[in-house]
Structure formats: structure tokens, C-alpha cells
């Protein structure tokens, strides 16, 4: 075959490939715009199966609504929180994720912040120990004057789809047992993305400083030198028996004896295979008079008994949306979930040893493994990979190039075979 013909074939191959790519981008863009138009519309139920992502409001009663964000991309993530247009909005949020692993195990993991605690770190280990009396006060964040939600927005960064949303409460009132307080703001942001077979929910937690402090009875109360800990409860359901592992050892908050178990590694495993991981970035930022200070945060797994008994009332909030309407893809029936920490197999505290009632920013990450990995495997940590071309992108480009070369070869061979069969028919009829 002469050079001119080969050049023509290569040219047409590249042209066809470019046309296919343009077509695919157009379809993706149209799809994205369609979903964008659908988002942030009040609906009566979360149409979680119909759209890639959506956010909006559900009316629970005349006075109370739920704002939700739902993403269907490899896994199903739902975040929701109560708000009211009539009264101050209550501070109750929930983040849940449902997915099926490659070995057909259905997994549902949700978590919610149960309580804030102020602690005096007397033994200087950075964490609150209930048995040493270090937890000075628990802090009920009650409601906020303003509530703003940022609907889910999809952006593509380095060929990875990021779904970002958030909420912000302004002028939050709360109660210590001895005082009424106001916090300038409390905001939660979320960035959900999938790389390879691992999904990440990177959260951003920002709490403003305590702006107003009104002691009821005791006057000599100060938050100086106190640390802040955020108490989280989790709801974990899997179709196969799971184990929570803290630092490689089985852990259950309902039966744990130690008042705190410092954790560097918290994961959910099924038969030695990791399906979920909690990654708490070590550093947090404390803002003191606008100056940012970096400090090291700590995380501890805690037994149920370490929670202040007087705080139980707060947990009576029942997240009524938990039903098949929220996670319709679930095959198994969830038991009634009220997130009472007595039923939680993993209660953990994220601790900020330096607080002093000031503003804090922190960004833990929740990692789901769609293909379970053997614990302890090299590279099995869900720490987000360093920036740069992802494996997914490299493989996609390689496949596109290999496909283009194969297509060029196929077209050349197509012509060659046709010519060969015309000139020299293989089957003979002579003799």
C-alpha cells in the first residue's frame, strides 16, 4: 500500500475518533445540564434513582423542612438536615452512603454529630478521658437564626467528577449545662468523588468562635485552655457480618472497656477485607484574632458509657427520612434507625486540644472501597492519592490511543484483505 493511501486512512481514523469524542462530550454536557436544571427543586421524595445528583427540600410539616443532597455516582450518598422557615433551624445533620461492593456485599454507613464537648486535658494527651473527669462540659448546639444551603454542584477536576455541596448555620445558639452561648457560624462542606474503585467524601468542618456567653448561675467560668471534641455516632449495616477495627483490632463501642482508644486507623472490615475507612487529617486550623494557627487533632474511639448521661435528650431526634424512599436501591430492610448511640458500634470523638472557644477548621475524609482490599496490604490506605494524573485517566488515555492504533490497523487490514480476496481467491474451483 502506498504512502498516500496510508496517510489518508490515518487522517480519516483520527477524524472519526475526534468526532466520537466530540459526540461523547456533547452527550455528557447535555446530561449534566439536564440534571442541573432538575436540581434544587422542592420535591415530595428524593428521586435518588433518576438523577446523577440532586438537592432540594422536603416538607415534613408546616413548620419543618428537610434539605437534602443526593448523589448517584458509583455509590449513593445522601446528606440531609432539618431547617425551618418559621422558627430557628435545628442543628441536626446526617450523612449516609450506600453501595454494593464487588463481592456483592451491600453496605450502608451513616454518621452524625451527636454532641460537642469541652474538655480540660489534664494529662496532656490531647484527648478527653471521661474516667479522669476531663470532660468539663457538653455543649448542645440547638438551633440557628439563619440557614443557607449550597446545592450540589458538579465539577470535573483532572477527569474526576467532584460533587460539592454544603450548609451553613449562622448565629447558632447552644447550651452548656451552665450557660447559654452563641456561635458566630457553623458550616459543613462536602466533596464527593470517586477514583478507581474508591470513593471519597471529604468533609470540611468550620465552627465559628463563641461570641456570646451568658452563664446562668456560675460566674467564674471560662473556656480558655479547654479543648473541643466532636462526638460522632455511626450507623453501619451490611449484608455480611462486619467488624469495626481500630488500629487493627476489633472494636465495639457497646462493649469496649477503655475510656478512650486513640486511633490512627479506623476501618470497617468484612472477613479481613476493608470496605470503609475513616481518615481524620491530623492538622486543624485555629483562628485566633484572624491569625491562623495549625494544631494537631486527635481521634479516639469511645465506649458508649463515656458519654455524658444528661445529653441523652438531644439524641431523641429521629431521622424519619430513613426509609426506602431515601435509599430505594437497598435490597435489605434497614431496621428503624434513631441513631441512639446505645446502638452504635462505633462512637468516636474528633478532638481539638487547643480551642479556647475560638474558630476551628478541619477536614476529615470518609472512604468507601467498592472493591474491598485486604487490610494491611501495601497501598490499601484510603489516603487520597497525590495530585497528578489519576490511574483512571492514564488508563483511559492509553486505551484511547491503543484503540486508535487498532482502528488504523483494522482499516489498513480491511483494504488489504479485500484486495487479496479479489486478486487471489483462496478457495479453488479448478481441477
Amino acid at each position: 500500500m502506498n504512502t498516500t493511501k496510508t496517510r489518508k486512512i490515518c487522517f480519516y481514523t483520527l477524524l472519526i475518533s475526534l468526532l466520537f469524542l466530540a459526540l461523547a462530550f456533547s452527550i455528557a454536557e447535555v446530561n449534566s445540564n439536564q440534571v442541573q436544571r432538575n436540581r434544587d427543586i422542592s420535591v415530595s421524595a428524593i428521586n435518588s434513582e433518576e438523577s446523577e445528583y440532586s438537592s432540594g427540600s422536603l416538607q415534613l410539616s408546616q413548620d419543618m423542612n428537610v434539605w437534602y443532597a443526593s448523589i448517584n455516582h458509583s455509590t449513593h450518598v445522601v446528606f440531609f438536615t432539618y431547617y425551618s422557615k418559621v422558627y430557628n433551624s435545628p442543628i441536626v445533620t446526617f450523612l449516609g452512603q450506600h453501595y454494593t461492593t464487588a463481592n456483592n456485599t451491600e453496605v450502608f454507613i451513616g454518621n452524625t454529630m451527636l454532641l460537642m464537648e469541652a474538655y480540660n486535658d489534664t494529662n496532656d494527651d490531647g484527648v478527653p478521658e471521661a474516667d479522669l473527669g476531663e470532660i468539663k462540659y457538653f455543649f448542645l448546639v440547638n438551633s440557628s437564626e439563619t440557614f443557607d444551603a449550597t446545592p450540589v454542584q458538579k465539577t470535573i477536576i483532572e477527569n474526576v467528577s467532584h460533587y460539592v455541596w454544603g450548609i451553613e448555620y449562622g448565629w447558632v445558639d447552644g447550651f452548656f449545662p451552665f450557660a447559654r452561648v452563641n456561635i458566630t457560624r457553623l458550616s459543613l462542606t462536602y466533596d464527593y468523588y470517586v477514583k478507581g474503585n474508591i470513593s471519597y467524601i471529604k468533609t470540611g468542618f468550620k465552627i465559628g468562635k463563641i461570641a456570646d456567653f451568658e452563664p446562668f448561675f456560675v460566674q467564674n467560668v471560662s473556656l480558655n485552655e479547654l479543648g473541643l471534641s466532636l462526638l460522632y455516632g455511626t450507623a453501619i449495616f451490611t449484608t455480611n457480618p462486619y467488624t469495626v477495627r481500630v488500629n487493627g483490632k476489633s472494636y465495639d463501642s457497646r462493649t469496649a472497656q477503655a475510656s478512650v482508644t486513640s486511633t490512627n486507623q479506623t476501618e470497617v472490615v468484612i472477613e479481613s477485607e476493608k470496605i470503609y475507612e475513616f481518615i481524620f487529617q491530623e492538622n486543624y486550623t485555629l483562628y485566633r484574632d484572624s491569625a491562623a494557627e495549625n494544631h494537631t487533632s486527635k481521634t479516639v474511639a469511645s465506649p458508649t458509657g463515656s458519654i455524658p448521661p444528661n445529653s441523652l435528650e438531644h439524641l431523641s431526634w429521629c431521622l424519619r427520612l430513613f426509609s426506602e424512599d431515601v435509599f430505594p436501591k437497598m435490597d435489605f430492610k434497614l431496621p428503624a434507625i434513631d441513631l441512639a448511640y446505645a446502638n452504635s458500634s462505633l462512637i468516636y470523638r474528633v478532638c481539638y486540644p487547643r480551642w479556647d472557644g475560638l474558630s476551628i477548621e478541619h477536614d476529615p475524609t470518609y472512604v468507601a472501597y467498592l472493591v474491598p482490599v485486604t487490610t494491611g496490604e501495601p497501598g490499601s490506605s484510603g489516603v487520597p492519592p497525590p495530585t497528578g494524573p489519576s490511574l483512571e485517566m492514564i488508563v483511559t488515555v492509553a486505551v484511547a490511543l491503543a484503540g486508535t492504533v487498532a482502528l488504523t490497523l483494522a482499516l489498513v487490514e480491511l483494504r488489504r484483505t479485500r484486495r487479496m480476496l479479489t486478486i487471489n481467491p483462496l478457495i479453488t474451483s479448478s481441477y
Binding site: I27, S74, N197, A400, G403, A406, N424, I427
Partner: protein
Amino acid sequence: MAPPEITDEERILSDLRGSTLLVYWYLLKKRQNSCGVREVQRALGFSSPSSACYQLEKLRELGVVSKDPSGDYQISKVVKTDVINAFVFLGGHVFPKHLIYASATTIMILAFVAWFTHTLSPIMVAALLPGILADVIFWYETLKVWRHKPSRVA
């Protein structure tokens, strides 16, 4: 002006067709093993041993087949014609060369889809399209060439 002289290679390529090609094809499959006239006649469906003998002798005259003292014939030179190049001869079996390309492309596509099944995006599907198109062409070529594979004298 005198016509250009035909080289041995050109003469072989022009004569290696029809039943002659079919016999040569059969010997290529046998490769290391020699075979006799009657075996060729029976295997390829020639009406008589003399027909098979004629083709074998023709191949011997072309210098691509040798005859041993026992009267059996064996490949002495492999000629790469377009037809022969379209096939791969392996351990007494023959299959179209396109089968290798088609299989490799299919494996690449399936592996890619299996690995990224949870995260398949429109861009990834677009990246697969040239490969899928090539795969379809390769399989089509494989079937077409296979159906025209020399087998028996019609």
C-alpha cells in the same frame, strides 16, 4: 524492447494459486512431516492420485517442495504470499492472523470495562469507541478470511 525478465520469486507467486496453492497449504500445515501422494489426494479430495501427483511435482519444479527417496514430499521453502500471510500456522493448526488482533482488542475492552465498571463515564466510553470499532472490524475480517480458508478441492 525486450520484456522484463521474470524472477523466480515472481514466477512462484504467479503459479502458486488454485489447486497448487491448496496442496502447498496442506504441506505447510504438515510442515515438519512429509506426506505421500495418496495422503494428499484423500485429504484434499482430488479425483485421482495423478492429479495430486501433478500438483506436487509442480510445486517441486517451483522449488518450494522437495521429494525424499521414499517418494514423500516435504516443504523446502516457505513462500510468503498475501494469502499465506493472512494466516498463522501453529502446531498443525491454522487460524487467521486477524484472530490475534481481534482477541487482543476484545480482551483490552473487557478488561477496561470490568476494571472501571463502577465508574464508567461518557468520556471513558468515548475512549473505548475506536477500540470497539477496530474490534468489530477485526472480528469481521477474521470470519471473512476464515470462511475463505483453503480446505478441499471443489
